[in-house]
Symmetry: D2
Subunit: 350 residues, 4 copies
């Protein structure tokens, strides 16, 4: 390794010449990169980051003056991870954006192989329609559009509505498996009344002939925040998990699996004053603060957060959460992908 | 085949002698019974039957004077299929009974490999406790005790409570797989507050670390009738299935499967005046009328039913239901067993 | 409990009158039978039994003179459990028979919801055809006809062929789910060459488009004894399991599950001189001795066995096997049913 | 859209200023990139490419003179997709390399969360050891090291051995889930004799106590080419699939799934003269020619191939294969990942 050793120099030169030679043939030596490819623990290229809603909410509203929903198809500002600028992603597999729908607007019907989740952060009066059923979107509701389902949105109210869009766009891009279609009409015909999917699939029963094997899209696409909050509140009568507080994952009740195979979604309550112990996991995760305020310590960096702020925790970064007030966090990640491939790991420390 | 043919007679005698001979060796000829063993369609030995609650309810109450809950362990009158008397079963795989718990009584804790379901038909104030959680039992609630879970019951009210017990006793007997244990104490200590399982598993979410693979007992053991009724009512705004009306099956939301692997349970709404078209299935089924009244035509026989009546439909018997008023039926059968073994069939006709 | 106590007598009489009364209504008290229905451990009604092939093989051949294959449809002597005579079963869920096919005979095509396994014990030249593929049957080959698959048999050789038939007839009867059809022609047209299923599914590969979800019948229906024996011999270079020797279970390689959902099948090698430690399981099991000789101690009774003998071990009976010479046993049971229902248990002792 | 329209210009400038502004906050407008993120069909960045073994085999041997196995840990030349140079990948999710082990060398024991497959292309005498069992590697054998299993290699012969390494390195990198460990010793102790896994898991049987649920690594890690070739030859007596010839996929026989969850592997026979019809699929695929020669038409480009050549087909590129002589192709892709996520599609044309 010494620059003054002529034998080492000669060997280095020989190798360099060899590398140049084989490079013409689209070959490259593994041994020069092995250590960076197969690492002892994950070395994520991501940067932890937090977007303050107070900072970016006004930008989202400004977008409403710069482009129409019609022209944009979806009027969204993408939250790009600072370490992956230009790649339209917040983690290596996931996308996050804030979508704005102004009163009277519609975001026209389309479908694609990318799965999407929505979480209203601001405003009332919008709806999402999935496969013929409209759903009024209320703050905190977890709403999803499974891959390849027709969906459109609109705002029937009198105020702008902003929601978080979470998609698996980067993962589908890596897998080279994007398909999409535009609908013939702007908004779907309502073929089922609002609440239909909740009535049929949301109460631990299913229509007698329903078979989850016959379809791969989850039949339940709305998880009202009122229900989520009721469960979290009730759980809080027992002692919290020292690493997670009270944390639930959303499921497709016809399988018990994640509502979307590519993204897991979670809701989590931290009592006022709670300081969680250190936690690491391989699924880089996006958090949205639904209630409360506190500080996220991510890989040694501190990020104060409050209502509607969004932050991202890279794979294997040590996470500690401190809730100054009673706090509810929504989060999503690619955990179901990692679990089905046998790759997911977590580590609990102090 | 003629009795007057000496050759046939001789053959018959030779065979008879052979049969007698091999019978000593515990052998018997298949060809004499093949047609009865492998039938072209099911030929159930069951009789269709209906128990009028008006007739048998008083008997259940009389049992309360004849034997204490303590002496009986479970004070139940078994509904025996008329074709299978002495076998403690209503179908070849299932058991049905009406249990009585008087005010102040307890039915002490035990557990067994048999699975059980309960459905209160009369009275208020009773509870079922499963694995440390008590549940107040309300009329129509579908409550279960998965196999090998500790369970006990009690009546904290001031009136007798009667409920339907459905168990897989005959199936477990056929499989020779009965295990049971008595608890050390009469009633379980409450380790979880009432509603805990509903809060954690009943709203399309589960605790983040929960794995359905790690256990085989369903974590949700209560399905409130209020929820069931809300869904049925909502579904009734669309057109009914001509064979089934509006029919839901209860699921374990962590798997999408039947809450118990040996018994499926269903709730069904028939609008006033509805006459269902002919339906056959291989799972002999027990029905309980929760609301309304009507007539069940089973294999050509008519059985008028009203509130709290119980009737049994044998495998492959043609069923037509006529609801004189809006009617809700609860039912259970061994369908999940037949489905997992690939044996279940249904046929829809006129 | 004393016959001389007038109060007890009175109570007994009152109860008796009540029982008689409710019996008219097809009701019966649980408390009189609870202890026999829900037992602390299985109390099988079965008797352990052994059929010596030396005794019953001649009877099977005699059947060849008494009835034609055509008249019998299947010329089989059923091995009936001595405790369940007249019920055509060897256990409460399974059937065992010895089938004879004479040179030149065919057993005509049919199909049924009952699943079947075959194991040639004597003679060469027979074949089984399943779904258009014929398979020459060699001693020890494990051959199956999945439910609802067309199958027929024939003997193209010059000697009688006798095989063991194992079916789930009693289980399907209990479930009331028997369907059957006769073929239009005696023998199926060969649409696939012999060995086709082994070539496509037997070597840890499957046709690229094959989906096990799209069918429920196992695509591999032949497990050659030569392969089984090779694996058993190779395993015997390591130390045996003290309770089981070397024991393999046959699988459907497209799922890893039992080739038939209702019956599990096993092959087991015991080295010469081995005495297994005590073993109990809830699946009553039928054994066939393919090689060697020894003694089966079943629930305290000793049954010496040698080549081609068949014996049955009831649920939870303590089994110890003593191999006087190197011994290979084939066995089958309803274990997959019990496992999928969560009911199977085993216990290993000394 | 005209450059001469001052209103459009103004709007463009306003937007540009907005984009610059929000870029400081790690925000970017979706509408500028939506069309490239959510495409109507896959638009793979990959280039189709073929590496001629005659060209690159000598380079692999030269590497043997430039670096020792010890220094390199694994002496491999990576085949990099020309469109993704510097990223150590042949597709966006998969890696391909040619590894050289010289006589007497060992590649020391390690394990990692990346899964690997091996296929010897040249030379005799090498072995792979997985979890205590050594396997002599013969040309065409499909050998795998499931994730997190200890493995090492060595060459006990007298000639260099070259094999194809296929790994999921890029996918695991995207998921940020790499873990690795070095063994304490260079080569594993042999705890199981060669062939052990084949004897226990390779013949459609498994040890009676084996449970695939208890582990996530496939227990069978060798698929001998002799077996593969036997099946392909036998299948070729029927008519070929017009798009695929005769194509088999390797399975884990204890589940029926891919032996590795992240990579599917396939073997395919094309009769001499066969020209396949057009085929597209979303899983970018790497092919290795084991026997024969021909031409691969990929997305309109022609690539002649012969023995040991390797080529890559991008997602959704139209593939037509022309076999000049009887040809056997091995291939691998991320198809199982796409299938489990519901993203895999194929299209058959002319």
């Amino acid at each position: 390794m010494s620059a003054d050793n002529p034998i080492v120099d000669g060997q280095r030169n020989t190798r360099r010449a060899f590398y140049d030679d084989i490079s013409q043939k689209n070959l490259t030596p593994l041994w020069e990169v092995l250590a960076s490819l197969v690492t002892p623990v994950p070395r994520s290229p991501l940067r932890p980051w937090l977007w303050r809603y107070a900072d970016i909410g006004p930008d989202v509203l400004r977008a409403g003056q710069l482009i129409s929903a019609e022209e944009a198809e979806r009027r969204v500002l993408i939250l790009e991870n600072p370490a992956l600028r230009g790649q339209s992603c917040i983690t290596q597999t996931l996308y996050a954006g804030l979508q704005l729908v102004m009163p009277g607007e519609v975001a026209r019907a389309h479908r694609h192989t990318q799965s999407a989740l929505r979480l209203v952060v601001d405003g009332e009066g919008a709806y999402t329609a999935v496969d013929g059923e409209r759903r009024t979107m209320r703050r905190g509701d977890f709403i999803l559009t499974p891959r390849w389902t027709w969906h459109d949105h609109g705002n029937l109210g009198d105020q702008p509505v902003i929601w978080l869009d979470g998609l698996d766009i980067p993962l589908v891009r890596t897998l080279d498996a994007s398909f999409a279609e535009h609908g013939q009409i702007e908004s779907q015909i309502e073929t089922r009344s609002e609440g239909d999917s909740l009535h049929r699939f949301g109460r631990n029963m299913v229509p007698v002939d329903y078979s989850s094997a016959a379809t791969d899209a989850a039949p339940l696409f709305v998880y009202p925040y009122a229900d989520t909050r009721t469960s979290l509140t009730a759980m809080a009568s027992a002692a919290p998990d020292s690493h997670l507080g009270y944390k639930l994952r959303f499921i497709n009740p016809t399988t018990g699996l994640s509502p979307m195979p590519t993204m897991g979604a979670y809701a989590q309550l931290l009592p006022a004053g709670m300081q969680t112990a250190g936690y690491q996991s391989t699924d880089s995760t996006i958090y949205l603060c639904l209630e409360g305020e506190g500080t996220a310590e991510i890989g040694g960096e501190e990020f104060p957060f409050s209502r509607n702020d969004i932050f991202v925790v890279p794979s294997w970064a040590l996470l500690r959460l401190h809730a100054r007030r009673e706090t509810v966090l929504f989060s999503y990640s690619d955990r179901p992908v990692q679990q089905v491939l046998g790759l997911w790991r977590e580590l609990r420390s102090n």
